[in-house]
Symmetry: C2
Subunit: 415 residues, 2 copies
C-alpha cells in the first residue's frame, strides 16, 4: 500500500518561519540604484503594503499566520508527504524517496501559499487592485484565485511565450476574475520598447507590472518569488514537512527542490537551515534548468530584479537583468536572478546547486507520471531529474523533494 | 478547519459489491438482435475477456479485487470525503453537504477505477491491445494509463467534437502511450458512412471500436460505462463512502451523482441500494443534462448500445441509438442510453432522476471552484447544480455527492 503521511487539519502550522532570525550573518541590504545607499523600508511602501514591508525586514523567528489566511489554507493544506515507492522499485535503489506534494492546491501549485497571504494583507490596508507578472501562469492564477477570495482586482502581465503556450492557465486566471496581458505589452512604455515578436521574460513583465502600479491609485504590486516575505509565506511547506518527517521518525539525508526565483526552494528548505547550521549531516540541493542557470553560472553581485531597473538593487546570483532565457517550457524557472536569501545560503556553501537539461527533465516527468500516477509540472520535474541521480548512487539514504505542482496544464510540453 | 475524512490505506475495500445479489427482481437479459433470444455469455467472449464476462453475469455479492489492481488503487485511493462548508455558508443553508472526490486519480476522474481492473483481467488472458471509445477523453485517458501499467496497447476512438475541444486529454492519452483517433474516422466502414463534418457521438465511436476489435487478433473491447462489470468496479467509490460516513456517524438523506452511461452514478449509489430496499429513508438522485436526458425523457425499451447495432440489445432507458446529442461540453454525459442496472432501479422507482441545463451547471461549477478551491469537471458539476437545489430547500438534512473528476482540462468551457 502507498505510504502517505497526512497531518490532521489542527496540525496545520500557525506561524511562518523566518530564517533571518537564525542566520549567523546579515544579508546584504537592497540598495537604492541612485544613491547606492540601503533602501529604507518606507521607500517600498509605494508598491507594497506596510505589513509585507515589515515582514520583508523582520528578524522575528516566528510570524503568526492570520486567521483568515489559515482558513483558506485549510481548504487544501496540510498537503501530503508521499513515498515514491514505484520510482524506487524502478530504479532498483536502496535510497528511500519521499515527496511533498503541493499540486493539490486550488490552482495546482505552491504559489497559492503566498498569494493568499499577500492578498489578505493588501486587503487589510485598503488596496483595491494587485498587479503582477507571471511566467508559466502558476503565479498569475494563484494570485487571481487569492484576489477573488479577498475581493481584490488582479492584473497579470504574462510572459508572451507562456501566454501563447499555456492557454489553460489563462483560462484559470479568467475563471477567478484575473486579467492576463501578454508581455511585452502595448500598455506600458517599457513594453512598447520591445519588438512585437519578442518572447518576453519575467524581468520585462516585472517592469511592466511595477510601472502600472506606480501609475494606478490604490494598486499594489505582488511578487510571487525572490523576496524575503514571499519565501517566508512558503515556509509552511517546510514546516509541515518537518512535522511529517517527525511522524515517520525520519532524518532526511538530502532535500531537493527546483529553483527559479527561490519560492518553492526556499519554502521547502529554510526550516531545515538551522539543522545544517547545527552540524547535522543534511545536504540541501537546488535544481535549476541548464538554460537559465542563475546559481550555477551566474555572478553573485548587485543587480536589478527587473529589466527596466525599477526595483532596488538586490544582492543575488544573476545572469544579468537583460538575460532573456530560451523558450523552455518550465516558464516558472525562467528568471535571471535568485532570491537574496537563497543566494546568500549558496554563497556561504550551506546549500548546493545543480543544473539539469530539459531533455532529462522531461524524461523524468514522463517516468514519474507513469510510475507514480501524478503528472508533474515541468518546473517540479527538475527536482525529480536530480532525485533520480541521487537515487542511482544507491546509498542507504533518505531523499526528500517537493513536487511543487502538477503538470496538467503543461501536457503539450511532454508529448 | 476543513472537514476531510481520509481512510487509512489498509481500509481500502478489498471486494467489489455486486448489487445483483441483493435485487428482489431480475434484470431483463441482453438479447441477440437476430434471434431476440438471451445472449449467451460465450457470445460476448469475442470482444470481452472471460473474467469480465463472468463478472457481467455474476450473482456473487462480493467479488475480490485482485492484488495487482489493489496495488494500483493504492496510488490514489482511498479518495477523500470532504465537507463543502463554504458552499453551505454561501447558500446559508441548514443542509450539510459532503462530496466524495475522485479527481485525485492519475487521470483526474473515477474512470481509472474500472480501467485498471479491465486492463488487469485482459492481460491475464493474453490480450495484446484494448480498443475503446471516449467522449470527453476521461475514459480514453484512464484506459491509456491502465494499459501502460499492465503492458497493453490502447486505441481510442474519440468523439470528434471532443477531440477538437479537448486537446489536453489527447495529450494525456499520448503521454501514457494511447492512440487517439477522432470518430467518425476513416478507419472503419461505419466511420466512413458519416459526413466529414459530423460531430460524432459515443454510439458511433463504440461501433468503430467494436468493429476494429472484430478485425484485430488479440484485441479486446473495453467499455467505460453502462455494463454491469463496469459499475461493479466503480462500487469501490460507494464502498469507501459508506466507511467514511460510518466514521462520521452520518446517515445520509440524499445521495446525488451525475449520470451519463451510469458508471459514476452506479459506482457511488449501488452499495446504498440495500439500504433503500430495507426501507431506510434515503433518496438517490441521478442528474443528467437537459440536452441528453436518457432517464428523464427516454423510453424504457430494448436498444442497441451503439449506433451501428453491433452490440446485443440492452433493456435500458434510451433516446434511441441514432440520437446525436448537441455539442455540450460535458462530453462524458453524451450517451443515448443508460446502464441496464440503473435503468431498472429507476423503472422500479428505487432512485430518482432530474435533468439540469448547461447554463445552471456552468454557474454551479464556477461557484464551486471559487468557494471550495476545486475546479469541477462539467460532468461532475451536474451533481453540484442539483445539490444546490437540494440545499436551497434549507432542510436539516445531509446531502452527499460524488465529484467524479476535476475540470482542469475543461477550463475553456467555463470562461
Amino acid at each position: 500500500m502507498r505510504e502517505v503521511v497526512y497531518l490532521r487539519p489542527e496540525e496545520l502550522p500557525r506561524y511562518y518561519y523566518n530564517v533571518l532570525a537564525d542566520l549567523p550573518f546579515e544579508l546584504d541590504p537592497p540598495l537604492d540604484p541612485q544613491t547606492r545607499q540601503s533602501v529604507k523600508p518606507e521607500q517600498l511602501l509605494r508598491i507594497f503594503p506596510e505589513p509585507l514591508v515589515e515582514q520583508e525586514v523582520s528578524k522575528d523567528r516566528f510570524i503568526p499566520i492570520p486567521e483568515p489566511v489559515l482558513q483558506e489554507y485549510a481548504l487544501y493544506r496540510p498537503t501530503p508527504l508521499i513515498r515514491a515507492h514505484r520510482l524506487e522499485e524502478y530504479l532498483g535503489t536502496k535510497t528511500k524517496i519521499y515527496f511533498k506534494y503541493e499540486g493539490t492546491s486550488p490552482t495546482g501549485s505552491h504559489k497559492v501559499n503566498t498569494a493568499l497571504a499577500q492578498a489578505f494583507y493588501n486587503k487589510l490596508v485598503g488596496t483595491k487592485m494587485l498587479v503582477t507578472e507571471t511566467g508559466a501562469g502558476q503565479w498569475g492564477s494563484a494570485l487571481s484565485y487569492a484576489g477573488k477570495k479577498f475581493g481584490l482586482k488582479v492584473k497579470v502581465f504574462m510572459v508572451k511565450v507562456s501566454y501563447e503556450q499555456k492557454p489553460f492557465r489563462k483560462s484559470l486566471m479568467k475563471l477567478f476574475g484575473g486579467e492576463a496581458i501578454p508581455s511585452p505589452s502595448t500598455e506600458t512604455e517599457i513594453g512598447r520598447s520591445f519588438p512585437e515578436d519578442h518572447p518576453g521574460s519575467l524581468g520585462i513583465a516585472i517592469s511592466e507590472a511595477i510601472h502600472t502600479v506606480l501609475q494606478t491609485p490604490n494598486a499594489k504590486y505582488a511578487l510571487g518569488s525572490v523576496l524575503n516575505h514571499v519565501l517566508l509565506h512558503q515556509t509552511i511547506i517546510g514546516l509541515e514537512l518537518k512535522k511529517q518527517l517527525e511522524l515517520l521518525n525520519i532524518q532526511p539525508d538530502v532535500i531537493v527542490a527546483c529553483h527559479g526565483g527561490g519560492s518553492n526552494f526556499g519554502g521547502t528548505v529554510l526550516p531545515f537551515v538551522p539543522d545544517v547550521l547545527s552540524g547535522k549531516k543534511l545536504r540541501i540541493v537546488a535544481v535549476e534548468p541548464e538554460s537559465c542557470p542563475s546559481l550555477t553560472n551566474g555572478q553573485y553581485t548587485y543587480d536589478f530584479g527587473d529589466t527596466a531597473g525599477l526595483t532596488p538593487l538586490l544582492k543575488m546570483y544573476t545572469l544579468g537583468k537583460d538575460f532573456v532565457p530560451p523558450a523552455i517550457h518550465a516558464g516558472g524557472l525562467r528568471y535571471h536572478g535568485a532570491s537574496p536569501i537563497v543566494s546568500k545560503l549558496y554563497h556561504e556553501k550551506l546549500i548546493e546547486a545543480v543544473a539539469v537539461s530539459q531533455e532529462k527533465v522531461f524524461e523524468a516527468a514522463r517516468l514519474f507520471a507513469t510510475l507514480e500516477g501524478i503528472v508533474p509540472a515541468p518546473e517540479s520535474a527538475h527536482a525529480i531529474a536530480h532525485v533520480i541521480d541521487e537515487a542511482k548512487l544507491n546509498e542507504n539514504k533518505t531523499v526528500i523533494f517537493t513536487l511543487s505542482g502538477h503538470g496538467y496544464f503543461d501536457l503539450n510540453a511532454y508529448v
